[in-house]
């Protein structure tokens, strides 16, 4: 017997957690002598009140969808991939190498090529931890986080010593050729005859992210490979009994996970910066963990949670811009949301379960 209806599990619980996080954030804002209402309206106005705000919110959300899906796929194989940060950074390198070395005449060709580069580099960066986990039992949490640092150092070296154009003082690659620039959503709206999101970075990658959600859903819940990944994630002894090869599943799940994290680079590197800069990922790899947790490791949940975090990112930026609330407080608010929706999930869930059981008992 399930303890509570599915809608309560997937919608009510995160919603209550979110409200609790907001309430405590409001208290903190009160405590520093600011008005929570003003803060909230500033955030909502800034992130959702205009097509300009939406443009940024969706841009951030696109990053978080990719990294959230990455964490989610690994999670279903019971692997906690916290190396999204490094894998996304390496994905950026993949994008840069493809776009700077291949003469691609049009973005429609450049996008698939860049996607392959991004996914390959991200997957390759996940392969070593996966292999160490599968063969040597080295814990994936330890190795993936170490690989984040290695990726950062490697990227630093590559940018400074190899990709930096001659004479440039900036540790960044050359700009990608104009032909490979991805269409922004604002350009696409303009082509359709209306103005939307002018000067915002959200681009066609957003649709790629949405398609990725659907494909990941197909993979996990409709495919044989997904069945094996989930079975392995639930019980390794049972997987062995069923003839599922743990090494194969560990490696494949991590390759897919790393590939998804790497794909983020088509949004931030190819779509927005249009060149590779240092620290392009800006923590999106870690946000992906919260997004996957809050999204209950389901693509639809990941999509919604990514939107929420996109809102928090953009709204938080606005808050720092227009109010005297310090930038650090935005991180506090984001942390509270992560804390309540991710770590303190059971605090809300268990009373809810009890409530639904009591209701059912009375109904029966």
């Amino acid at each position: 017997m399930t303890k509570m209806p599915k809608w309560a599990d997937v919608i009510l619980t995160p919603l209550i957690s979110l409200v609790l996080a907001m309430a405590i954030s409001a208290l903190v804002i009160l405590a520093i002598g600011e008005s929570p209402m003003v803060a909230l309206t500033t955030m909502i106005d800034g992130a959702l009140g205009s097509s300009y705000g939406w443009g940024f919110t969706l841009y951030y959300a696109t990053n978080f969808i990719f990294t959230g899906l990455a964490v989610m796929v690994a999670y279903h194989a019971s692997l906690f991939n916290i190396g999204g940060e490094g894998q996304a950074a390496m994905g950026g390198l993949g994008v840069a190498l493809v776009l700077l070395s291949l003469p691609l005449p049009h973005w429609a060709l450049a996008l698939p090529a860049a996607m392959i580069g991004a996914a390959l580099f991200g997957a390759a960066w996940a392969l070593i931890p996966a292999w160490l986990q599968a063969k040597r039992g080295s814990h994936i949490v330890i190795t993936t986080i170490m690989f984040n640092f290695i990726a950062a150092a490697l990227l630093n070296y590559v940018l400074v010593n190899l990709l930096r154009p001659v004479g440039s003082m900036d540790p960044a690659s050359a700009r990608f050729p104009d032909a490979t620039h991805l269409p922004k959503l604002s350009d696409m709206a303009l082509a359709l005859g209306f103005e939307w999101g002018k000067n915002t970075p959200v681009n066609i990658s957003f649709f790629v992210a949405v398609i990725a959600c659907v494909l990941v859903w197909l993979l996990i819940w409709r495919s044989r490979l997904g069945f094996e990944i989930r079975a392995f994630g639930k019980s390794e002894p049972a997987a062995l009994y069923a003839g599922i090869n743990p090494v194969r599943i560990t490696v494949i799940a991590m390759l897919i996970s790393g590939g998804l994290a790497g794909l983020m680079a088509i949004n931030n590197v190819m779509g927005e910066a249009e060149r590779l800069v240092l620290n392009a990922v800006e923590g999106a790899g870690f946000i992906g963990i919260a997004v996957a947790l809050m999204g209950r490791n389901h693509p639809l949940g990941v999509f919604l949670a990514a939107l929420l975090f996109g809102f928090l990112y953009q709204g938080g930026g606005e808050l720092a811009l227009w109010t005297s609330i310090p930038r650090e407080l935005i991180i506090v608010i984001q942390a509270l949301v992560i804390l309540f929706t991710g770590a303190l999930d059971n605090m809300v869930r268990m009373p809810l379960e009890r409530m639904f059981m009591a209701l059912r008992k009375r109904g029966a």
């Binding site: 017997m1 069945f227 599922i244």
Partner: protein, 537 residues
């Protein structure tokens, strides 16, 4: 029913009962684990409590030992009402518990385990020497011989159990509760345990024995209570009842205790094992040269106390030997050698070669507990072409198949979307059995087919196994339940310490003889029995 709740109407006798429960109820959410339980256990008696899994026996005993608080009802110990809030209260009231899974520190000595939690003072030495004296006396009085300085992990399971009993007695327990105590013992060890219990009874101790083995109830108890679905359906004197009556009370309908089967008609050899050896990752030799043959249309039962290599044998045959182990020897199925190492040695490959497997631990291996019933029906066969072509699975096809299997195997509730976790043990096992048997394997490996399965489902599962045999399939049955081995097998091989100690025919052996073999005693040097007799008993 005449036997129904005799205790309730009985007038108060002069001597207060050792334990009396009045109207105990306990619910976990919507599940009523215990409902208005009345129980009276007289001082100096052995009282059995039987019931199927999930009948509420363990909950009741946990209430008695202070692990759970009852929602309603009253507990009287020695005639005085007592609120048992925790196990310390229970221990002070003279209640001792021997759990099914021992609660011992493996790398402590017997003495250290005995005084753990009741050390007197800051220094250990006085407590230890006091305990040494007490243990000596207890050993003499009750045949509870254990070397006090032995490290627990080096003791046999039977001796570890004695340590648990000693722990309880050292805490001055007058009432001893034993939860499924014989599950891990050889018949000889079980007999010894029963002698200990009889000695304790003679000293005026009260013993509550929880078991699902009817034979033990009949053998040793004075009175017996039967639980069904959280209720106490009967409390009777053991002398006034019969195994058939108890089984009927447990299940709520008539049950056939013996397997009905025609003599086997063995055909060509299906499984041939020669000199199979296995050394595990820590260098311990688990299988020491196993040789077995099973023919089509035959059930070979492997008897043995658990932990003597049966698990390793099943895993190797099933295609997944323990990680880091080395396996050697020869195994043939239908004449073709099975790879024992390398890439060809995996469970999927075995299934393609017609080897089905009902694993020993359905919850850890046979099922994914969080998967729905229909997903579990595909589990292990998810590559089968009828479950969809290409990389995607055909959910409708699997569900149709699952619905059929659930219907044919009477899985209850017949809901193929329900997670495996939410089925009872018996119905979980039916899902596994349905999946493996309906694939019509040439060789079916079966480990503990009825462990934790209720009597009604046991009857059903046994019938299906015999049907598969009659369809000309070879079956390897591993079970620690000697009764099951005796009634299902056409031949019995006894395993001890990684060896086959001998083969016997069920009609021509006794539990006593098998028990000796299970304990590693090769009692008689009689020539091996004729392996394929023309007739079976």
């Amino acid at each position: 029913m005449a036997a129904e709740t005799q205790t309730r109407g009985r007038p108060e006798t002069a001597a207060p009962a050792a334990i009396e429960l009045r109207g105990i109820s306990k619910a976990f959410g919507p599940v009523q684990a215990n409902r208005d339980i009345h129980l009276r256990v007289e001082r100096g008696t052995i009282h059995g409590i039987i019931g199927e899994n999930g009948a509420g026996k363990s909950t009741l005993m946990s209430i008695l030992y202070g692990f759970y608080k009852p929602d309603a009802g009253e507990i009287l110990v020695g005639g005085r009402p007592l609120t048992i809030t925790d196990s310390q209260t229970a221990i002070r009231a003279g209640i001792g518990m021997v759990f099914q899974h021992f609660k011992l520190v493996p790398n402590f000595t017997v003495l250290e385990n005995v005084i753990l939690g009741v050390e007197e003072g800051r220094l250990l030495r006085p407590s230890l020497s006091k305990a040494r004296g007490v243990l000596k006396r207890l050993a003499q009085d009750y045949e509870l011989h254990v070397d006090p300085d032995a490290v627990v992990e080096n003791l046999s399971v039977g001796h570890q159990q004695r340590v648990e009993i000693l722990k309880a007695l050292y805490r001055r327990a007058d009432i001893l509760i034993l939860d499924e105590p014989t599950g891990v013992l050889t018949p000889a060890e079980a007999d010894h345990l029963f002698r200990i219990l009889e000695g304790l009874r003679a000293e005026g101790k009260t013993i509550i024995l929880i078991t699902h083995k009817l034979r033990e109830i009949m053998e040793i108890t004075d009175t017996v209570s039967v639980m069904r679905r959280g209720e106490m359906v009967a409390s009777v004197r053991t002398a006034d009842t019969s195994p058939e009556q108890l089984a009927e009370l447990m299940v709520g309908r008539k049950v056939l205790l013996n397997v009905q089967k025609a003599p086997a008609r063995p055909g060509k050899p299906v499984l041939e094992i020669r000199d199979l050896r296995m050394v595990d990752a820590s260098g311990v030799e688990r299988l020491r040269g196993i040789g077995l043959d099973i023919r089509a249309g035959e059930i070979l039962g492997i008897a043995g106390v658990s932990g003597n290599g049966q698990t390793q044998l099943l895993e190797i045959l099933g295609g997944y030997p323990e990680k880091g182990s080395t396996v050697s020897g020869e195994v043939r199925v239908n004449g073709a050698p099975l790879p024992l190492t390398g890439a060809g040695c995996n469970a999927a490959e075995r299934r393609r070669k017609g080897v089905g497997h009902i694993p020993e631990d359905r919850q850890a291996e046979g099922l994914i507990m969080d998967f729905s019933a229909w997903e579990n029906v595909a589990f292990g066969y998810h590559d089968a072409p009828e479950y969809g072509r290409g990389p995607l699975m055909d959910r409708d096809a699997i569900r149709r198949d699952a619905e059929g299997k659930i219907r044919r195997f009477d899985v209850r509730p017949p809901d193929c979307d329900l997670a495996a976790r939410n089925f009872s043990g018996g119905n979980q096992q039916k899902i596994v059995v349905a999946r493996e048997i309906e694939r019509n394997p040439d060789l079916l490996l079966i480990g503990q087919p009825t462990r934790g399965v209720d009597i009604g489902a046991i009857e059903f599962i046994h019938k299906r196994i015999v049907e598969l045999r009659d369809a000309g399939k070879a079956i390897l049955l591993v079970s620690v339940e000697l009764d099951e081995i005796m009634s299902l097998s056409d031949r019995i091989a006894v395993m001890f310490d990684g060896r086959i100690m001998g083969e016997r025919l069920p009609g021509q052996t006794t539990t006593g003889e098998l028990g000796l073999l299970m304990a590693g005693v090769d009692a008689d040097a009689t020539p091996p029995p004729k392996i394929f007799p023309e007739k079976c008993e």
